[in-house]
Amino acid sequence: MHELGIVFYIIRDVKKTAEENGVKKVSAVVMNIGEVSTIVPEYLTDCWRWAADKEEMLRGCELRIEPIPAVTHCDGCGKDYPTVAHGKICPHCGSEQTWLLRGNEVEIKEIEVRDENASL
């Protein structure tokens, strides 16, 4: 299971950041996931629920995904186009000299922490 492996890395990074900031409980993790990153968001959230609930710091913590649309740039005509609709070949000029501008991100954007002092 591809997404489960990724989840273990997310957990490691989130715990590290939380510890550095003296946080004991994380309420949400926000991910930026590119459209062509090969991550299936539903699988990622399923794996997250299973693995995160095993960690004291992350029990019940929500994983939110903000998708990043994939965009390809064409060196042939200099235009950008949506990757998923057109693939490797530029729809404007037919060139194959194209490269992915964005859309393969697997990035932890931020974590949310409820203010423990305020609720006590």
Binding site: M1, H2, L4, G5, I6, F8, Y9, I10, R12, D13, V14, T17, A18, N21, V23, S27, T38, K88, E96, E105, V106, E107, I108, K109, E110, I111, E112, V113, R114, D115, A118, S119
Partner: protein
């Protein structure tokens, strides 16, 4: 209502691994050890190809193999029995790939035995081949710290695999096409396959072989030997 504090991270999930891989490559360079990350789908003939390749090279350079699988040690035993070179089995514990940290742990567990007839390499291997978990998706995302990535695509899998698994083909410098002997029974178009591979990586080299009969395995072995010599002498 609770007030919520936001801590920004803005960091790729692969960042820590990429850094660990870079450090491992540096260490291998200092020791003159060439690490090849060999990937493929399950059943493409990785182990058979390795046995043939190692038997062509083992008198020239000192070789060891690291087998990564989710479970079992059949491959490590098979390699050792068929070639006599040192092998170690790594279990990924359910994970679909190997990362740089796991690779470094595996390397630490490989110690050259002192009975090598190859002079001057008593302490280190020249070449360590990492046989990654059979999978075309996840291993491509995690830099293991290897000097180069190679993959084996077998004829029954079809020539369109580079279109379906773009990342795998874009990270590999060498694509070995195995099971050429069964070409007549499959609609495998070698020319198209070449074209698709080069769409993903224009610099990729492609070598068609048949590991079962040993046909053209020498071409792959020679490429590997050149790679090792260049790594050690540059």
């Amino acid at each position: 209502m609770d007030s919520v504090k936001i801590i920004e991270i803005k960091k790729s999930v692969f960042e820590d691994n990429d850094r660990a891989a870079e450090a491992l490559r540096g260490e291998l360079k200092r020791k003159g050890v060439y690490l090849l990350n060999l990937m493929s789908a399950p059943g493409s003939g990785k182990t058979t190809t390795l046995i043939q390749t190692i038997n062509l090279l083992k008198d020239k350079i000192r070789i060891a193999v690291m087998e990564a699988d989710i479970d079992s040690d059949v491959d490590a035993i098979k390699i050792k029995a068929a070639t006599g070179v040192d092998s170690i089995q790594l279990h990924t514990g359910g994970m679909c790939h190997l990362d740089a940290e796991m690779t470094a742990q595996g390397l630490a567990g490989l110690k050259p035995t002192s009975d090598s007839s190859l002079k001057g390499r008593e302490d280190n291997y020249d070449l360590i081949i990492l046989e990654n978990v059979g999978n075309l998706v996840c291993p491509a995302e995690f830099d293991t710290g290897a000097v180069k990535n190679a993959m084996i695509l077998s004829v029954p899998e079809g020539h369109d695999k580079p279109l379906k698994y773009p990342l795998m083909f874009s990270v590999c410098d060498m694509v070995v096409i195995n099971k050429m002997d069964v070409m007549p029974y499959f609609d495998f178009d070698l020319e198209k396959c070449n074209e698709y591979i080069h769409m993903r990586n224009p610099k990729a080299q492609v070598i068609p072989i048949c590991a079962k009969t040993g046909e053209n395995v020498e071409a792959f072995a020679n490429w590997l030997l050149d790679e090792v010599r260049q790594w050690q002498n540059s």
